[in-house]
């Protein structure tokens, strides 16, 4: 672009105004698509999202997910009619796994959303404000991090009573401290930058600085962590379901299915095998996706 063109009065087109942004995004897409594991992760996540969105229409036997009983077909091994076999009620396991995807995605979204929704603001405030406010927030955060998450969640579910809602509440309670620690550390680094000081000297108010300067610069690690946490939250909820404190049968939840299936071991192996494979692939997908996002968004922390 020559200086002459720049001086014309013609309004710049969208592509011209955002040319650097577009170039940056094209680089991101290129780097992401070059990595096999990132694309595998993306593929798994997309497949899982499709199952969650269209599950009831994709499932070969949608009626089997609501607790219908067909004892003539109970515990059939995998065959052409029932790819993943049937369970003790004669329900098609494939159908139950497909419909269970929505439950798992919902659980993962709520836990991660609540965790980030509580943790990120607290982390930014703690990092930016300092003083007694920071000391207080960080003390409570460290306290929650001092008990292994699953043990703490178990105690909270035991107090609230079993059930899927209480599981989600318990896991959200143990999930937010991770975000506080991440965002606090990042904020401490960002607030020393020259552009923050410049904004402050121009008279920008604190909320404006936090929203327009600090938060955008903390976004990369938050996005990476949220992607990873989707997988880990789904895994944690399935674990509570496996223990017997999560969703109640006949709700099609993967962990709960394995919990029931355990009493049909080892002769009816497919009953516990396929729901577990679904959990594994989903968690693997979100982990690989998070890993791939980190490689392009936050290259300095690679291999960590």
């Amino acid at each position: 672009m020559t200086p002459m063109e720049l001086s014309t009065d013609r309004p710049l087109s969208f592509a011209e105004r955002h040319s650097s942004k577009i170039r940056q995004w094209r680089l991101y897409v290129h780097m992401f698509s070059q990595s096999f594991s990132s694309m595998l992760g993306l593929g798994l996540v997309v497949m899982f999202l499709v199952l969650a969105a269209f599950g009831p229409w994709l499932a070969p036997y949608p009626g089997d997910t609501t607790g219908s009983i067909d004892l003539a077909n109970r515990l059939l091994p995998p065959d052409a009619a029932h790819w993943f076999g049937t369970d003790e009620m004669g329900s098609d396991i494939l159908s139950r796994i497909i419909v269970g995807a929505r439950t798992s995605l919902f659980i993962g979204l709520v836990i991660t959303g609540l965790g980030a929704g509580i943790g990120v603001p607290l982390g930014i405030i703690a990092g930016y404000k300092g003083g007694w406010l920071r000391a207080g927030i960080m003390r409570v955060t460290e306290l929650f991090l001092a008990v292994p998450g699953l043990a703490l969640a178990l105690a909270i579910v035991a107090a609230l009573g079993p059930g899927i809602t209480n599981c989600v509440i318990a896991l959200a309670i143990v999930w937010w401290p991770g975000y506080v620690r991440l965002v606090e550390a990042k904020t401490l680094a960002v607030k020393e930058e020259l552009f923050v000081e410049a904004a402050r000297s121009l008279g920008a108010k604190t909320p404006w600085i936090l929203w327009h300067h600090i938060l955008p610069n903390c976004m990369s690690p938050i996005i990476v962590k949220m992607s990873m946490d989707m997988g880990m939250a789904i895994l944690a909820a399935a674990s509570l379901g496996f223990i017997g404190l999560g969703a109640r049968p006949p709700a099609p939840e993967w962990g709960t299915m394995i919990s029931v299936a355990r009493s049909y071991m080892p002769d009816w192996w497919w009953y516990s095998f396929f729901p577990g494979a679904a959990i594994f692939l989903t968690v693997l997908g979100f982990n690989l996706l998070g890993d791939g996002l980190r490689d392009i968004l936050d290259p300095k922390s690679r291999d960590r």
Partner: protein, 335 residues
């Protein structure tokens, strides 16, 4: 070093108090009635009332808290409804089984994870590196309970090599209680058959428990090794003609082990948490199984007892790691 140690111990006591407060809050967040929670699901209204009086739940919260803390200090964690025995006695009975399992799993994680991390750093982007990368990513994503079931199906049911569950065969008399660790007690008693039996029982659950730990130790060690191997002193050592393996395994590993050590401490606590799952799959008679069966029976005191115990073990291990860190690297003592 002394002031650092004292400061760390003080912080340790502070966190322990904090965890005690946290468990007290959890007991009182239940939307229902804590007395009903303690009494269990089958209690009549009269029984709930009696328990309310007996456990002082009719007193104001502040007073209840003081009583709770007093009980904790004297080691009174309440009584289990199901077994009607003091929770602290049951914890003493179950804790060694859990610790034995965690230590064996941690040992596996370090012994396999550190060398594999080292190898994949040395042969970066080679075939070994690719295999360990798949290994380490899938290790974190594997649901422990599912992996455990698969291992049982293959090694116990199909091949018949290892027992499915438990700590010892039903017909075997356990050795006298000395450390509570069957592997050690049986050796002290000189019963090699019992040692062999307990070893064959611990292998599968230990592998399942160690898998995610192994994966993250491997990843951290690999990343650190890659960084250290590029530093000047390594190049200098190589230039002096010191053999390649000596440089990697002694000169480089020493410095790469520091962050790995932190990961080991972190994973120790994480494993204490996931014993809840592994012990359920393998019917391993530890605190995790105790917590799960109590939670399913709405027996609340044992669950809180186990949470406190796991929390305390975790803080103690973190403090030990901090101290080890400072002992190795004096610069950290002022932090």
């Amino acid at each position: 070093m002394l002031t650092f140690t004292l400061r760390k111990l003080l912080a340790l006591i502070g966190t322990m108090l904090g965890i005690a407060v946290l468990t007290f809050v959890i007991t009182n967040i239940a939307p229902g009635d804590p007395a009903r929670l303690v009494a269990g699901p089958n209690a009549t209204a009269d029984m709930v009332e009696t328990i309310r009086k007996e456990s002082g739940l009719d007193k104001p919260l502040v007073e209840q808290f003081a009583i709770y803390m007093g009980d904790l200090v004297t080691g009174d964690l309440g009584t289990s409804i199901v077994t009607t025995r003091p929770v602290i006695d049951e914890l003493k009975r179950y804790a060694p089984a859990t610790l034995e399992l965690v230590f064996v799993a941690l040992f596996l994680g370090v012994v396999v994870g550190v060398p594999l991390g080292m190898l994949s750093a040395v042969y970066k982007d080679g075939p070994i590196d690719h295999v360990t990368r798949i290994f380490s990513i899938s290790g974190v994503a594997l649901p422990a309970f599912w992996f455990g079931i698969l291992m049982q199906l293959y090694f116990s049911v199909d091949l018949g090599w290892l027992p499915v569950s438990g700590r010892l065969p039903l017909v075997t008399r356990p050795p006298d209680f000395i450390t509570g660790f069957l592997l050690i007690d049986s050796l002290i008693a000189g019963k090699f058959v019992t040692f062999q039996a307990s070893l064959s029982h611990i292998i599968l659950p230990a592998i399942v428990l160690s898998f995610p730990c192994l994966a993250s130790i491997l990843r951290v060690n690999r990343a650190e090794m890659i960084e250290v191997l590029q530093s000047d002193y390594i190049i200098a050592a190589r230039a002096h003609g010191i053999s390649a393996w000596r440089v990697v395994a002694i000169y480089a590993l020493k410095n790469a082990l520091l962050p790995t050590l932190a990961m080991i401490g972190l994973r120790f606590g994480w494993m204490l948490g996931s014993t809840v799952l592994v012990e359920t799959v393998f019917d391993w008679p530890g605190v995790g199984l105790y917590a799960v069966s109590s939670a399913l029976a709405s027996d609340f005191k044992p669950v809180i007892g186990v949470t406190l115990l796991i929390g305390f073990f975790f803080i103690i291990s973190n403090t030990l790691v901090d101290l080890a860190y400072a002992w190795i690297d004096p610069r950290l003592r002022s932090a």
